[in-house]
């Protein structure tokens, strides 16, 4: 059988293909984004970006009711957005199998929190599968769909960053034939009015108790007996770390940790002298084990924050180490400057934040590449909570403290606006707010790797569709004052913001310029050393293409990085910055 290296995300897409998924939907978000990008390559599957995770899941629900196997994918915080349909979907159950992929991010490599979505499976009362490598990621998609159909219930497949973004070998299979199921009108199953929902809730409880019995004899959960002094319960990537660190001990691997397989766990616990549980984030399995009245060590030795690795397990359970570090001389970690991510040279967001700082405004922020505007030297963001929160937060601030009126702007990206900014803007219009909303329209979802969205007029499958018109959307929400401006023209940026913030009515500014990574670079700029007075104004924009050589008291522009956007040129009072090749006057 052919084995290929695949990331967990590619493998999930392959699993969808092999198990006859008909519809896949998602909103991008690290570490889940590549799932749908890969699904989209299979012609057999209809795949789409939705505006947000709630809609993605609702599309999935419809597809399942219609009888197709369905995959819906999102990052962990996306499940918060989709939680409303999820909770009731557990009651209705499915027709075609439905798997919800939740890609969690312990350690917050690319997220605003590190919530543990295994809790959602328990909260919603649905089965939870946790793959630990790409082979399992592919296989578990199939198992999840089968379990979903067998028990008439949606199933959560939970990955973490290290599963999603690690490449491990996978054996490929050809897709089996999976037919569309017949659509049957069943209002008592799908119309959740109280009278019907009461019945469905009872049914759900019964189902979960049957699934619990099933899970005690589920081959996805298995014991490997070894040294019986130590027994470790683990799932997902943590199981790989356990095997790496302590291959000699006894282990219980839970491929399906919820509903918790009680009898299997009891059997394992009875066979070992000391029981451990190794899990990242929440004591999810630990609590289940304790509820059985068993003694177990878990969060006493592993933190509820961040990631675990093999070396920690070796040290904390095995009392040994495999680390053989070099003794370094003349080495001080503190002297090593950090290298945080930055807005790219030529990024159209930069000048807006520079101006917001200069105008000393309160900026309620949002999530996207532009969140980098909170870092020095721009430092022009006062809050960032979740997608869409900038707008409601601005309104709340001015309502709480009228003195702040005229000093607050909300800043939001185009993809984020379509995701969850429209309702907030409507709220400002409806509730007579005066805040100014700035939409940074770089014509793409840049942060997650340039996905299309309703404003780009291209679907995930690259079909042309009608591009949503931001200006007209805002107008129809009830906001008349809408200005479109060029974010790379600093004078214009300043004038427009200063004017709109003064206005007692609510207003929206749309700064439109495509992401610099999608555009051809212009000729780079150069600094004329004779003219340069080393006033350092050009450094205020924090462009990685401009270097401050403070020993020589000079600034230089790196021609390999410079995109020629001219923001620094506009800031230079001495006229010392010009296009490379242009004649000196």
């Amino acid at each position: 059988m052919e084995k290929v290296l695949m990331s967990g995300n590619e493998a999930i897409a392959r699993g969808a293909y092999e198990s006859g998924v008909k519809v896949a939907s998602a909103y991008p978000g690290t570490p889940s984004t590549e799932i749908l990008e890969n699904v989209a390559r299979y012609e057999e599957i209809y795949a789409q970006w939705s505006c947000n995770e709630k809609v993605a899941l609702e599309v999935g629900i419809g597809a399942s009711i219609a009888g197709g196997r369905t995959l819906v994918a999102m990052k962990h915080v996306g499940v918060n957005v989709a939680a409303d349909p999820l909770m009731t979907l557990a009651y209705t159950g499915v027709n075609g199998g439905l798997v919800l992929v939740s890609a969690d991010d312990p350690g917050m490599h690319s997220s605003q929190n590190e919530q543990d979505n295994r809790r959602y499976a328990k909260f919603a009362k649905i089965p939870l599968l946790e793959p630990g490598d790409s082979q399992e990621a592919k296989d578990f998609v199939k198992r999840a769909l089968e379990i979903s159909e067998e028990f008439d219930i949606p199933v959560m497949l939970r990955t973490t960053t290290r599963v999603a973004h690690s490449l491990t070998p996978v054996s490929l299979e050809e897709p089996g034939e999976v037919l569309l199921k017949e659509y049957i009108k069943e209002p008592q199953k799908y119309v959740m009015i109280p009278a019907y929902a009461r019945v469905r809730h009872k049914l759900l409880e019964e189902k979960m108790s049957r699934i619990k019995d099933f899970n005690d004899n589920n081959p996805l959960n298995y014991i490997q007996w070894g040294d019986k002094e130590i027994g470790i319960v683990a799932s997902g990537i943590s199981y790989q770390y356990v095997k790496e660190a302590l291959p000699e001990v006894s282990s219980l691997k839970l491929g399906m940790p919820y509903p918790f397989p009680e009898n299997l766990v009891r059997e394992f616990a009875a066979g070992v002298q000391k029981l451990f549980v190794v899990e990242e984030l929440e004591p999810f399995m630990e609590e289940e084990i304790r509820a059985l009245g068993l003694e177990v060590t878990g969060k006493e030795i592993f933190s509820a924050t961040g990631e675990i690795n093999a070396e920690m397990i070796r040290e904390r359970i095995g009392n040994k180490t495999e680390s053989a570090p070099v003794k370094l001389e003349d080495y001080s970690g503190e002297e090593i400057p950090p290298r945080p991510p930055v807005m790219c040279p030529g990024c159209p967001h930069r000048g807006v934040f520079h101006t917001l700082k200069k105008l000393k405004l309160i900026v309620t922020g949002d999530i996207g590449c532009y969140t980098l505007g909170c870092l020095p030297p721009l430092e022009a963001m006062d809050s960032c909570i979740c997608m869409g929160a900038s707008i409601g937060a601005a309104l709340g601030m001015e309502k709480a403290n009228p003195e702040l009126k005229g000093k607050i702007v909300a800043v939001i990206g185009d993809s984020t606006f379509f995701h969850s900014g429209i309702t907030g803007t409507l709220d400002i219009a409806y509730n007579l707010g005066s805040s100014t909303v700035i939409i940074l329209d770089n014509r793409t979802t840049a942060m997650t790797g340039h996905q299309d969205h309703p404003g780009t007029g291209k679907t995930l499958k690259k079909e042309e569709s009608k591009a949503a018109d931001l200006h007209r959307i805002v107008n129809s929400l009830g906001i008349e004052r809408v200005t479109e401006a060029d974010p790379l023209n600093l004078k214009e940026v300043k004038e427009v913001i200063a004017r709109e913030i003064e206005s007692p009515q609510s207003s929206v500014i749309i700064f439109q310029k495509p992401c610099a990574l999608l555009e051809k670079k212009d000729k780079p700029l150069v600094v004329d050393e004779e003219e340069c007075s080393y006033c350092k104004r050009c450094l205020d924009i924090g462009c990685p293409g401009i270097m401050n050589d403070w020993e020589a008291e000079k600034v230089q522009i790196n021609p390999d990085l410079c995109s020629g956007c001219s923001l620094c040129q506009q800031l230079c009072n001495a006229g010392a910055i010009r296009k490379a090749g242009d004649n000196l006057e």
């Binding site: 570490p31 990537i237 680390s323 001389e329 090593i336 400057p337 020095p376 790797g449 990685p544 401050n548």
Partner: protein
Amino acid sequence: MSRDINVLLVGVGGQGTILASRIIAYVVQANDLSVKLSETHGMAQRGGSVVTHLRAGEEICSPLIDEGQADIILSFEQLEAWRWLPYLKKGGMVVVNSQVIYPVPVILGYQKYPENILEKLKKNIPRTFAVDALALAREAGNERTVNVVLLGVLAKNLEFDQSFWLQALESILPARVLEPNKKAFLLGYQES
């Protein structure tokens, strides 16, 4: 004897560490070793410090290399080699591109770029191979072959036959960029 190899590829977001890791993976797989890779996606790709873990051997479980356990650090930039050095194990090797890319705190003048990194690396790690990969990439006719120059240097210092590397380039890279990449590989190979 264990044939396990742990390679940590480090650099700056956007430098092409991921492609390099795929090529190494191809070579070790062609030599009947199992391999696992772990990559950085998302926010850090915007010019942040990025790292790819590559583990090869008879049986690999964890896709991650822990501190003090890397056999090789392959660095696309000086400061990144220095930053990740605690991951190297005793007797390990460093292949480093002498290119300097200033991080924002240095650009703004908040912090200094450490001096004499290459000398300090050589003093600490006898098996340090520093090359000006950008210059060699230009010589090969394409600046974007920096990563393959570095692979050439690495290849010279690993047990796998050169032919596997050339095969890997042929099967992974698009035909139109193959020639400069082969040239870049050989320039790196001859350099060390």
